[in-house]
Symmetry: C2
Subunit: 202 residues, 2 copies
């Protein structure tokens, strides 16, 4: 298909697509003559992914690039599917405290979560714990266990859905996309639950 159809199929203006092509977020089309290129379903799919990551997940283009590169370099296999999500983890602004790091380790041990030592989520979580502690809303072990239980109960539904994909790259992509795109669903439901529970007469 030509650029105009790619634009219609992806819902993105041609100028935006050209920008993504220049930035390397989308692979170049097959050159046909000197003035136009031919695109296929893989381009439609990639553009929908980039659009979802920017518009829905609210990622900056630099983060979109990290996700796309991680997906392209992911090796087949279970571990790489998990690691494909690492670029989603925001860099921590401040090194977490020793106490917070140990609390994350203890939580992982309590849940039996065998998380890679290199996983950036460890530091991200520890830094988040430092923040809530510093603002007077500390995460007690009871709170952490409730949150981890909730997280696991949605992951149990999420993961089999994406791992049903035979192609490991497609599975990794669906895991990343599913992770990001269902975040607004989960967070909105939590806000709804807050509103409902805080309005109930106690």
């Amino acid at each position: 298909m030509r650029l105009a159809e790619l634009s219609a199929r992806s819902g993105l203006p041609s100028a935006t697509i050209k920008y993504y092509l220049r930035e390397g977020l989308v692979p170049a089309g097959e050159t046909e003559g000197s003035t136009w290129a031919r695109y296929d379903e893989s381009h439609v799919r990639r553009l929908r992914l980039v659009r979802a990551l920017t518009e829905v997940a609210g990622l900056a283009l630099e983060d979109v690039r990290r996700v796309v590169e991680a997906l392209e370099s992911a090796e087949p296999g279970h571990a790489s599917r998990g690691a494909a999500q690492w670029p989603l983890s925001a860099p921590v602004a401040q090194e977490p405290s020793e106490v917070a790091v140990r609390r994350v380790d203890a939580l992982l041990a309590r849940r039996g979560w065998d998380l890679e030592l290199d996983s950036p989520h460890r530091r991200t979580l520890a830094a988040a714990l430092d923040t809530v502690d510093g603002l007077g809303l500390p995460a007690t072990d009871e709170v952490l266990d409730a949150y981890a239980g909730a997280a696991e109960s949605v992951a149990v539904v999420d993961v089999p859905r994406v791992l049903a994909e035979e192609d490991p790259l497609v599975a990794a992509e669906r895991l990343v996309v599913g992770t990001l795109l269902y975040e607004p669903v989960l967070l909105t439901l939590r806000r709804m639950a807050h509103e409902v529970l805080s309005a109930r007469p106690s």
Copy 2:
């Protein structure tokens, strides 16, 4: 205290504090002579809140302003505590489909969640459902029920902690802050659970 101490206590540079003062995100201090002003604990608290909303929750200053204004104008009472969270709900880019709106209504009915008709979370959730549907990862009722159950299980822990506050304005502030600041905790735990479950041999 003077500006220098306010800076030390809040962890923000003086220039940033002056900017927030000009922008009205922090109330002015009490003027002492012509060249300096006196600040108190309420300023420390407000600056920590603004810092948390920008650095941790990643809100733009315009959204911080909406949250702060909602907190200042909130009336005492249960309903207003829930409604204080409304400004957190991102405006939806595209009007949700009728189908998605009805699915949200059905979910609320299944859960027995008596959510205000005006709550912006309804449209936010419906729009999120349209997005995941459009990207080939549709939210089945089974998925939605799992997510809503997880959301409720954390809200059950969250809400009593903030409602223990006697001052309704403080309670509203803690609800909003707790909502935003625990979001990274929940999302990081979900990513951890994804990584752990997708790496387990099936």
